[in-house]
Symmetry: C2
């Protein structure tokens, strides 16, 4: 157990174990009248990951609890609340008061929830950009390895300063996973810096800022095409001089489309297991996809727990 | 053999077989003093795919031919030419005169070759946009399936009209692969049409143009996130009404970065086999990556041969 608690987390089972050892935290499910979100929250509680607080229509939630034979033990956790905006606001209030440490979307439109979360006065902003960090378990010849992909969920077309904040958020997750100095690849379609692809210019600038100590806690290189970022063989064949090539821990996409498509390709083409969480606010926010497997939802809750523990 | 010759090509071995049956065509290797390109061209000739014409430094090429014990049989195919731009121009002339049917990059900077290829007066343009079509062999529970990804190689940020030409090129490849009415997914980070992500607006417009018969030979739908495009399970869970969802044959990316990263993730994360070719000009152009496996280079030549045959 001690090596798990202090070493680098290399796969999602180890993430789950580490989170279980981190103590249970309250997770507020907003719009809890949702069978899969409810099942994930209850499943997380059963394995000692998190304590569920269920915000939603009391009658519907209780009906669902009876369906999964969990009526009696969770009945006192239901906070009756009608309307999705009201549920979102209540969840955010619980985070602000410290009663909930993680926010999870249930039956609710994602953009409606994010509007409440991101509200500058009443939301859970903490003076930073919020961004989605997707963690996938890459299978390599040298063993499993967690690779982070960002930002596939919040900022559609980040400017350079926003990219730097996105990097900082992902580096914080990497640190929580035990990587002391994560290797960050700034993805593009090429490793050449060219005005024809503006993201390569941002990548060059951000790389140099990292060299100057302006973005600490990681080593950054870009632009890099995906093969150069993650394949040691490709990095060797192409003979690139890079401290990141072939061994990237964090893949920073130039925009939401690249990150979203890449993350989904690791799930739907490569079959990698994954977790994802929105961080940068007062609490991690989980937006499980309807298409996520139950396992992915539990891993995401574990990632949220780890990110809470990191802050303490 | 007859079913292979007329049916849908579902994997890359079948592509190779179909190309071998299509008769051998001349492939001009520009900058032939390149060991891996030379080996691919000779390998293709040995299996009856294509006849190699080797343009480059005669002494270097002949040295390499001796190294691979192919000196005597290929010595008469070497056209002595110094300088990469000269080699590129000579290759393009062979295409324009009909002596070569496929152009393949050897030792040469890609952008130098493309500048010659795309020259409006002396290049191999045919009044259309050139674009890269990447063909990967997706492994699904219901068997292998060829999925096209475009454009990860030519136009950095295509406007709407250019996207339509990129679609037409990919549809031409799909037709050559035996798909009579390929399903085209316009990728984005979401299936919602929203001004926050401009590619979703283009996708909506192009979808409707297809419904109006303005883009024939295929059925188009978008915007779609990758999971909705390729996963029948995801399409079912999210209950989307789409003639493409879960079964896309062609994935059209909003820009070069999305296409390039997605294509590379199918190789480097999912381990799918692949081929790719630039089409839209008078001849297919092959730009093998230094990191491509020999098998991928042969598949790309086969794809080039198929695309020549399609035009005849």
């Amino acid at each position: 157990v001690s090596t798990i608690e202090t070493g680098v987390i290399r796969d999602l089972d180890a993430l789950l174990e580490r989170a279980r050892g981190a103590g249970d935290r309250s997770i507020a499910v907003v719009g809890a009248q949702n069978k899969t979100a409810l099942a994930a929250a209850l499943g997380a509680e059963r394995i000692g990951l998190a304590r569920a607080v269920l915000i939603g229509s009391k009658s519907l939630v209780e009906g669902l609890l009876r369906e999964v034979s969990a009526g009696s033990s969770f009945a006192d956790r239901v906070i009756d609340c009608a309307g999705e905006v009201e549920c979102a606001r209540l969840g955010v209030q619980l985070v602000r008061s410290g009663e909930a440490r993680i926010l999870m979307k249930g039956s609710m439109d994602t953009s409606a929830l994010m509007k409440v979360v991101l509200d500058s006065a009443e939301g859970i902003r903490a003076g930073r950009l919020l961004s989605d960090v997707f963690v996938c378990e890459v299978r390599r010849a040298d063993g499993p390895r967690l690779v982070l992909i960002t930002d596939g969920g919040v900022t559609p077309h980040p400017d350079r300063q926003q990219k730097i904040e996105i990097i900082r958020n992902a580096v914080e997750v990497a640190h929580a996973l035990g990587l002391e100095c994560p290797k960050v690849a700034l993805l593009s379609a090429t490793e050449r810096v060219t005005p024809a692809i503006p993201s390569t210019l941002d990548a060059a600038i951000i790389t140099q800022m990292n060299r100057r100590g302006q973005i600490p806690g990681c080593v950054i290189d870009g632009p890099l095409a995906l093969d150069l970022a993650v394949s040691p063989e490709s990095a060797e064949v192409k003979r690139i001089d890079s401290p990141v090539a072939g061994e990237a821990d964090i893949l920073v996409a130039p925009d939401i489309e690249v990150a979203n498509v890449l993350a989904k390709s690791t799930t739907y083409f490569a079959g990698f297991r994954s977790a994802h969480v929105i961080i940068g606010g007062r609490a991690p926010v989980l937006i499980p996809s309807r298409a996520d497997a139950m396992e992915a939802k539990l891993f995401s809750i574990a990632l949220g727990v780890i990110m809470c523990a990191e802050k303490e």
